[in-house]
Amino acid sequence: MTQTLLAVDAERREWRRVRAVRLAGTALGVGAAVLVAQWGRHGTGLMLAPAAFGLAVLLGTVVSETLARPPHPPGPRSASLTPRRVRDHLPSTTPLVLALVLVLVALLIVTTLSASADESGESRQLACTDPVVTQTHGPYAGAFYSTPLALALLLVLAVAALAAREVVLRPRGVSHSESGADAQRRESVGVVVAATGIAVGAPLVGVLLTTASALGMGSADPTCAPAWWAPTGLATGLLAVTVACGVSLLLGRLMLLPGGRR
């Protein structure tokens, strides 16, 4: 009985340590995002800041789940013969994050293909040409924005996949039961998914808003803009609000940790 209580106490201490290290990673992520936001031209730093935040949270999660764990206690050790898979530990927010990734990829393809170069040759404007004059509206997610964002997205997804794998494969630690260890793993995979969602969703809101703005401004001149620009701009703006709600939900999941269900 006393041994069980000691084991439960050790598990709680371990869990607190994991959360503390993860929280430090989140704080580091805020600092990294502030630094990155000040970097670059024409708002590219601001666009990449959520990716920097997400990467720091992901790294903090990996460190908390692997390096910050105490060594195996002495004595016989046992291990379950059930293979642990990442998909068995994914939270209910996973479809939302997958949807954000798909929407961002599709949107970046469309905006990259439809963007025009500005006077310095950088593809970051939406242009419409009427018989008299060519109007340009921006910022718009042409290659100038979409290339670094796509690279950041690839990096975030790769690190998230590695982080989730590390979390799921890490040993049981001092948890007195496999189910207790699995609850910790689920929580950390939940953080990985939430951080990925924020790293993808926040720039997506920005791209949606700038796209909606460019389409809206362009549609003010009906002789230049096609008729579909106005409703598409409105729909894109509404989608931006919806995505912002989703990102807020993920931010809540990331911050409301102790005992909270992911």
């Binding site: 004595g75 046992s78 040993p171």
Partner: protein
């Protein structure tokens, strides 16, 4: 279903694992086609080197009880059938006899030791 390794046991850890895996397959606790955990998972959980677990898997695989595929993990071989209980008992007895003879005991001493063990239990 768990595997256990005792670091204080003089039997090497890979052999402890091998024996347990063979027993689980032979008793039918692990059915044909059942997937085993990745080497890294099992090694991490048991606090062993990946190579130690890999050696256990390799030896059980060499006995035809497991099948490993690149990228497909390690599974219990499809054609494995649980060993009938009397044959398992006979195999245990054979192992005991062989080990005891190797240590230099006579058949009479082995018989006495087994009888004493049965009476004690």
């Amino acid at each position: 279903m768990n595997l256990t390794v005792d670091p204080d046991d003089p039997t090497p850890p890979y052999e402890q694992l091998r024996r347990q895996l063979v027993r689980l397959v032979e008793t039918g606790a692990l059915a044909p086609g059942d997937r085993l955990p990745p080497l890294r998972q099992l090694a991490g959980d048991l606090g062993l080197a990946v190579g130690t677990v890999a050696r256990s898997y390799r030896e059980v695989e060499a006995a035809g009880l497991l099948v490993s595929r690149r990228g497909g993990g390690t599974r219990v071989a499809a054609d494995v059938r649980p060993t009938p209980a009397p044959r398992r008992l006979r195999a245990l007895a054979d192992g005991f006899r062989t080990e005891a003879r190797r240590l230099g005991f006579s058949d009479a001493e082995i018989r006495d030791a087994l009888t004493a063990a049965l009476e004690a239990g």
